[in-house]
Symmetry: C2
Subunit: 330 residues, 2 copies
DNA sequence: TTGTCTTCTGACAACGTTGTCACTTGTGTC
DNA sequence: GACACAAGTGACAACGTTGTCAGAAGACAA
């Protein structure tokens, strides 16, 4: 910047004004400064700028995802990015791998780089550690799952309602013995989905049968094994509800291997790429990650613009996509 | 930092030494400084640090992907992140959407934030604009596709060889009329894959038939339409090679709709989630995005560690995964 | 002419760090 | 006891910017 100022024969302050597009610089000087910048290949240093600026903004936000490569998380990432670019804000992303410790380390690394805001898909069981960030003025929005021991804006899917919708669909098709396969019960969303199953059965006056419920199924193989076992019982379910992505795939594999995929109904939570090309196509309760990410980013930027209203809790609705597997009759 | 120094009754320089883990500070002072930092909830400011540091490192790299939410790109992202975290480096990611202009804007935004290095999955047709970054000392690595008008380290898939392997597999199974469906020919990798098809047919002494080649198929629908049309000819192909992800899905849809999925062979480039659950399972030439990302990150960090050897060009091999669709006989 | 106001410009300090260098101890050697 | 040397510590400037404030130059009215 000093060199540009020297070449343009102005003070560095005037260069700063031009670079920041401030008004009150005569057109002739603006031209000279721009010409000098281009000739010297000058690039504005945002880190120095944010250090000096009164608001200290870095035009960067940090997001903690479960895994940047996981389809749900990366869809969140993309829709957050789309809102951010419109404001010239860049996104630092990191994967927590369902590990509270990595989540904390990422937040700390983001904080060291003075991000303007944080969006977190939480893994940790206790978010009181975020109090210091909050005190430093960093807005924080939680997506997909609520925080624990910490009050903050959230954007969540209505998990229980989505499951209830799917279970009701199965009941309406005449099913009474509906199996449930769920993810780790410690994950809040998984617990919510299981609650939806239990409540809908109760509402439909169908007696709960604990032999038809298997939780803590992490990954495709576990789910496949559990489904295979459940279908081998003397009174097997006539329909299955799978509470998560990979669990759905595992359940479908089990049905296929047992030759039951055209006889036992299946509904899964979360859409699956190519689900329409399978035989039968898999009926799912689809989340809307793009809407979740977009909403979260909008809430975050409103906070950055000074919105100090009480914490907001947004719910994004699910949608049932019928493709065949959920419409198999008992 | 000043406050911490005051509370610990030392100079701010000593606090700096402790924060950076420099040797030569007596244990008692280290304890006092750490205690004071914790009491004041002090957080090291990396932006100020990198501004002052002689090497100017920000412990942040920037990556330009085609789309952070696309499975191939996000797998790259994840494997780059895995290498970066080990060095305490964070990743700024952005999507170019196959648009050279967005690519340039992202690079410029990264440069303003003084990233230590760049990894680019290029969209632009001319990378000479990167000369100024190079001159500023920022190492740059290209992944998936080579740069144009610019010499830099690359990590690429051997596209042509992968396609040849698949086509050879079809020929060995007795096919002579093999259709080719490809992505935009302006994308270098797509052109390479098409070249592999042409060359392997020539090697196998099979005459090229231009009615069996359709390029510039962007997206599932286009591919589905082109495949449908090609299969309707008087002398239809007995096998199809699909040069890209979505093209494979489109081709499979067309085969299914025409009831030919058990009669016409299909091999696709790039693996597809759930391809094993379809009927038949789809045989693919699988890339290894994790290996590409890992290698690229390793090359980048070696450059950051001072490696000034001539530009390196790494090739990551493909793997054929047979699942049934490629083993259908004519 | 003088005074007042507006518009443009620049000098200087400061943001939170770290590199440089000089100073103060303490230890060991002759 | 004098001296050299190592280890620990701090004062100060500097990194590249922007906020503050003051001053110069010109326009206009009295």
């Amino acid at each position: 910047m000093r060199e540009v100022a020297a070449l343009a024969k102005v003070s560095i302050k005037t260069v700063s004004r031009v670079v920041n597009g401030e008004s009150g610089v005569s057109p002739s000087l603006v031209r000279r400064v721009i010409a000098a910048s281009e000739r010297l290949n000058y690039r504005h240093n945002l880190t120095a700028s944010s250090l000096r600026r009164s608001d200290g903004r870095s035009a960067t936000i940090g997001i903690v995802l479960e895994d940047v490569a996981n389809p749900f998380s990366s869809a969140l990432h993309r829709s957050i990015e789309d809102v951010a670019v419109q404001r010239g804000v860049l996104v630092l992303a990191g994967s927590s791998d369902e590990d509270g410790d990595r989540e904390r380390k990422l937040v700390s690394a983001f904080a060291s780089r003075r991000v303007d805001g944080l969006i977190i898909q939480p893994s940790s069981q206790d978010h009181s550690y975020l109090l210091s960030e909050r005190r430093a003025g960093t807005p924080i929005v939680f997506v997909d799952r609520p925080p624990a021991f910490f009050d903050a804006d959230t954007v969540l899917t209505d998990n229980a309602a989505g499951v209830r919708r799917g279970v009701r669909h199965l009941v309406q098709n005449g099913h009474r013995r509906i199996g449930y396969l769920g993810d780790l019960h410690t994950i809040v969303t998984a617990a919510e989905r299981h609650r939806g199953y239990v409540e809908e059965l109760a509402d439909q006056r169908i007696e709960a049968d604990e032999r038809l419920v298997r939780l803590d199924l992490r990954g495709i193989e576990r789910a496949e094994a559990a489904a295979t076992e459940m279908l081998g019982h003397s009174q097997p379910p006539t329909a299955l509800f799978a509470g998560q992505n990979l669990v759905t795939i595992g359940a479908f594999r089990a049905l296929r291997r047992l030759g039951l995929h055209q006889r036992v109904a299946l509904i899964g939570f979360d859409d699956i790429l190519l689900a329409d090309l399978l035989e039968p196509g898999i009926t799912v309760i689809a989340q809307d990650p793009a809407a979740i990410g977009r909403t979260a980013a909008q809430v975050l930027f409103r906070r950055l613009d000074g919105d100090e209203s009480p914490t907001q809790h947004h719910i994004v609705l699910t949608r049932m996509i019928t493709r065949g597997s959920g419409e198999i009759l008992p």
